[in-house]
Symmetry: D4
Subunit: 164 residues, 8 copies
């Protein structure tokens, strides 16, 4: 079965990543969660990245704040799709956004919104769903449910707040 | 064979997307290039997005500048991986970067660097290579060649510019 | 009677829009409040936009945060005046401001301040007042009252804080 | 017949406003173009604003750069819809964008994109078209032509650049 | 005796201006505090500006937030030195800073830091002190006291925190 | 006679300051132009600042780019009004703007627009005119001429560009 | 023994500098902590900088917020390495970052992250360790301990949060 | 003899680094210039960093643009002082500035100005001069010459541009 890894630079980032963990669980995708720092345990981060494909991972989610180098360092050592989540630790998250998204030609990082862990999981799921129809069905069901929920709140708000 | 689509909001964006077209060609990935505007031909953009999976596309590259809504509109109508390329038309590209990357939970866009069309193509290739070993081999060869080129310039610069 | 619609991407945005709802009520303008997401219920949003003129609306207020696409998507499907309210959900609201105001030539969005819902309502009222003299009179009265209130606080502050 | 005024702070701004002048001409809307500075001829600017409704204007387009106060000053003296065009003279236009869009509650300015003069004209046209069906027809025809043009370039680009 | 006026756009700005009021009081400079809005009571603001020199004012301190037009509007109607205080109400105060400092050639505003009311008062005092030796002496004494206070904390911190 | 000094950090800044030199000349205000660097000739800068009042100066204009410290260093050594001109050498001038305007309480710098040398001269003139009626008359004449020029271009543009 | 000085503009900055004081203590590096303001006690700051090498200091850490001039003023009076710590007092710390890092050619300041006092201490330690092998050994031990700690949290998080 | 290394991510960065090469040459400091990419030749970059101290280097200058990870990756593998030069390739250099300076606690990078290569060399020289009196003498002579040059241009500008 295809797996997804969630890497973060510090265990203090775990709450920011919880939406990704929960979303992958909901979609029944196996996930490995790791604390691997581009600056404090670079060798382990590189070793994980280099071995990830052979270990069965199909997408790597990397989250970091500030001068967020984790996604870039991982992307330099694998040809798996790397998904970057900039964390809003300073400057509203602009520093981590720029450090994640502005990668040089040759080494892409698929960047999602600042603190956008849930979408990182969904993006990983969309990638895995290209060759997993059951997962695609779960994704479709999830989107339909989301749509249904918005429609329900629409009906509710419309009645309560409109004044025609 | 899996295909990739490159969508742009205006034909004047074509030169910015050429690196993506060239990179996909180099990697022997079939590509369809379209001018589909989220604001001026929204129905066609939505129709394309909704039918893209059935038509054999496996990743959609969407490029736009300013209030760049194309990637978001496409992502709202498909569960294929959508890759956003913010184009630097105004404010150094910050407006298109924010409008592309800051998507709400539920509808992810995999954003690459401002004017980062080449990396959008490589990201699409990495996704397709998950189930295409020949493509993976081409990607690996490409990365090795890039590495070799940097090493060659390193030797060259080292000799000419160092003074020990 | 001319109506105004207030559209928002999520029911959690309702408190931010309350000043618009209250202002329109105060000015006796019929208002329909809807939760229509550009990304989660795009078909409903488009259907509403396309039918709004025929349904009697004369101005559409669209509020969203982050990669705020709602106003742009609505504006792509109507020639009614579309008023965009960028909501301050991240980056101080800069992402939603840019995503709302930096529209391409051909599809205008009348953007007000970040979290500026009250002014969105007043702008809609000014537009309706072009063909509704009673409404114009209410707007004039409102502005006079605002002026009077500022003058009253001026007298008050002047006495208490000055030291000549 | 309803008229639109285009006000700018300096005659050097005229080229930036030409797209607005041309668009209004194309839509057969009478236009008065004025150089009225919030800082150098404030009395004339205020006098114009205060008398604009009586003079037959139905929308006022105000363009300025830097600490762009013109739209705000005009909006303080009229209840006509005021459309602000921030001009990109410094800081990429951020100073004029903020000075135009961040108006306090009570005095709205409908802001369009930095250097977005064409959309200012279209917004004015949409407002006038609320009570002018012939103008609405011209606007509809214009949008259809824009759509047709994008479709034509789509066909063209698709053939030349795709490689399937 | 020369007087200074402190103008603000709303009575809610009073706490932000208190440091200016206190500093002027401490320096024995007569001060008039007014609530005069560029947008809601423009006529009163202009009348005050135009008559300020004749009324005995020698410097005008203008504070506003958002699209901060007050200082610019006042400066357009007087040749007295106008000191602008950008208030941090949104975007960290960047909108009011740009709207205050980026004035066009011909109409200067002496801008101080975001929420820098105390320095606005000191700048006004420096200007008045050019022709008031007693005030200059009070300013010199104040600066000496400030220096002495910093020296005292230096001695204190040095002893407690150093470790040699 | 009261004098004004124009200080800049490098002779390469001279063209940016020429509008200040010309404006002071036009207003018949004696001016001394100096190259005094906060970082490369700090002792001379400090000596000049400390002796400026005794030497007959009544306002000091300080221009610098990047980490613009000149105005702050000068202001720390005098109680004369110090006028800061942020020069646009990098980051669109934002670095020099922030480094000039965000002074701590106690040491004000009267900041004008990025590259706003002409307004720095006018602000100095307004300060000197508080005790020089002839200069005030020259300033009033200058403003009237500016107004007249704008009115003339208004008449011109109105005729040529309007279409009623 | 080589010493390091920590200079700050105000005693209110002391808590922000505590991580630097603690880190230097942990590494057994003698430290002198001073409150020396570039604006309020410039003579003392300059005197300290000019005499620092002779007094045995080998690196000077300078911390300030807003228009942060302290590091630049100190660097102008010494050829010792000067380390700047921008403090986040306003604008998220962007003003102090720019005012610290954007120094002109000739007078370098080694800038660390906004509120990055701990890294300022480590950078000073790295400099001193170039000629102090015992200190180098302590730095190595510290880094190994940091690595070990991250590895421990990695094992912990991996077990608790993964779901394979 | 102590050596300095200049590392850059691409040979196209060489012109931006030339001021550093020239400054080190002028100060008679041996320099090795290398093209080592954090993303395209990470193994070589890491190998160089890990062996740099043993190879006789005493400071490492790392220059990169965009998501500038080179300095951080190098700093993660050495306890030598690492000096980061953010290159202005996009967004005015803000992306590379943030990606270089906002390092997490534990791994410092001494950041200089955007495109500030000359100051990177001077900072390296200041560090080496702590244990090299001849180099210190050359640095002192260089600063004196810089001061003398500014004084000469001061005399020149003063005569030509002043008008007293």
């Amino acid at each position: 079965v295809s797996k997804v890894a969630i890497l973060m630079g510090s265990s203090s980032d775990l709450p920011s990543l919880q939406p990704a963990i929960d979303t992958l669980a909901e979609l029944q995708i196996p996930v490995e969660v790791r604390v691997l720092s581009a600056h404090r345990t670079p060798a382990r981060a590189i070793e994980f990245a280099a071995g990830a494909r052979a270990a069965g991972y199909r997408a790597l989610i990397c989250a970091a704040g500030g001068a967020a180098h984790l996604a870039g360092v991982v992307a330099a050592h694998t040809l798996l799709p790397v998904i970057g989540v900039p964390l809003g630790r300073s400057l509203g998250g602009l520093d981590s956004l720029y450090a994640t998204v502005q990668m040089p030609a040759g080494v892409p990082v698929a960047t999602v919104a600042i603190d956008g862990a849930a979408n990182a999981a969904l993006l990983a799921a969309e990638i895995l769903a290209l060759s997993d129809d059951a997962l695609l069905a779960r994704l479709e069901k999830r989107r339909e449910e989301t749509t249904a929920k918005v429609i329900a709140t629409d009906e509710d708000v419309r009645k309560k707040a409109s004044r025609l």
